[in-house]
Symmetry: C2
Subunit: 200 residues, 2 copies
């Protein structure tokens, strides 16, 4: 035996499929799992199956929902006149940490990458255009990632939304707050220069 027995090997292989997990970490997780009680492992397995079963897409913003409209889209206090467009459902939670944003969201489900066959029809772009075309939207904030794919997507959306009269903005990219200019990369610095504002 230089290998583990099949049920352990299989568990290690499954843990290895998690993002950023190598074989040592996967083995560590597997052995921790084996030390748990039967109730605890059943709870773990059930959480995995439950999440897959119970997590739905919100029919309005395409973000995560427990069924029907998500909490944000269903909230009467949110301003439906401002839509913040993000790539992934988890980005909604990230943006929500920014206190004070009272608009709603639209989740694209990724960013355009034609070489990887991610064309506009693979993302929830039509749903966004339909929302804006339905009227009442004053501003669309494009919060796609500052990557080539995110930039391409933002450019594509800005053009696609042009006919509907809503203002289209993009998050400002630049030096992170608390960061040090010395350690900023060239692209970030370029963005910071480009987006400079009058000092009042």
């Amino acid at each position: 035996m230089t290998e583990y027995i099949p049920p352990i090997r299989r568990l290690i292989e499954e843990f290895r499929k998690l993002p950023g997990v190598g074989s040592k970490t996967a083995a560590r997780y597997a052995f921790a799992m084996l030390e748990r009680s039967e109730e605890e492992t059943a709870a773990f397995a059930d959480a995995i199956l439950g999440a897959k079963r119970d997590v739905r897409r919100c029919p309005v913003c395409c973000g995560f929902s427990a069924g029907g409209e998500c909490e944000i889209c269903a909230d009467p206090d949110r301003d439906r006149g401002i839509i913040c467009v993000v790539e992934d459902p988890k980005d909604v939670a990230v943006m929500e940490r920014v206190r004070g944003y009272r608009g709603v969201y639209h989740v694209l489900g990724g960013a355009l990458a034609p070489l990887d066959h991610v064309t506009p029809d693979k993302l929830h772009i039509k749903e966004l255009i339909d929302r804006v075309a339905a009227g009442g939207v004053r501003e669309v904030i494009l919060a796609t990632n500052p990557t080539p794919a995110g930039d391409t997507t933002a450019t594509y959306l800005a053009r696609a939304l042009e006919p509907y009269g809503a203002e289209v903005s993009r998050l400002a990219y630049g030096i992170p707050v608390g960061g040090d200019i010395e350690y900023a990369d060239e692209v970030t610095l370029y963005r910071a220069m480009e987006g400079r504002r009058n000092f009042r």
Copy 2:
């Protein structure tokens, strides 16, 4: 919504229970899980349940087994006259990576830690003594960890095994091969000095 919906929250909480996993990593794992197909998540859940269900203890060495004696204890080519004693089942796989060891193992299931209520009766110590008392064992190699608990366990076992006439040895601790003396900690250096051998 500054939080995730319950099924996602539950999944993140379960991933957080894995060793060394914080909330950011747990969320990353959970979102990766949600992106998988239903078949893939079912396979993951099944691997967890399967490992808990199908992994047994070897009645001889107390290590992992798929049922009955483990592969090592059942192997007629292994030398039953040498028993290497380790703390955890996974240590068997670690020791097996050392080419050339042809003896068998005994898994204690932990190390003595009286303050945490890990007393001799909580470990597979009686089983080890029974094996040695049954005769035919020439040497017991204590490969417990070089920690206070591992050392205490080794000392306890050496004394407990004394009446049976088998030679009791302990792994050598010292500078790691390929390591640099400059970076060795004091305890390791002390162990290396203590265990020094004649230069031939």
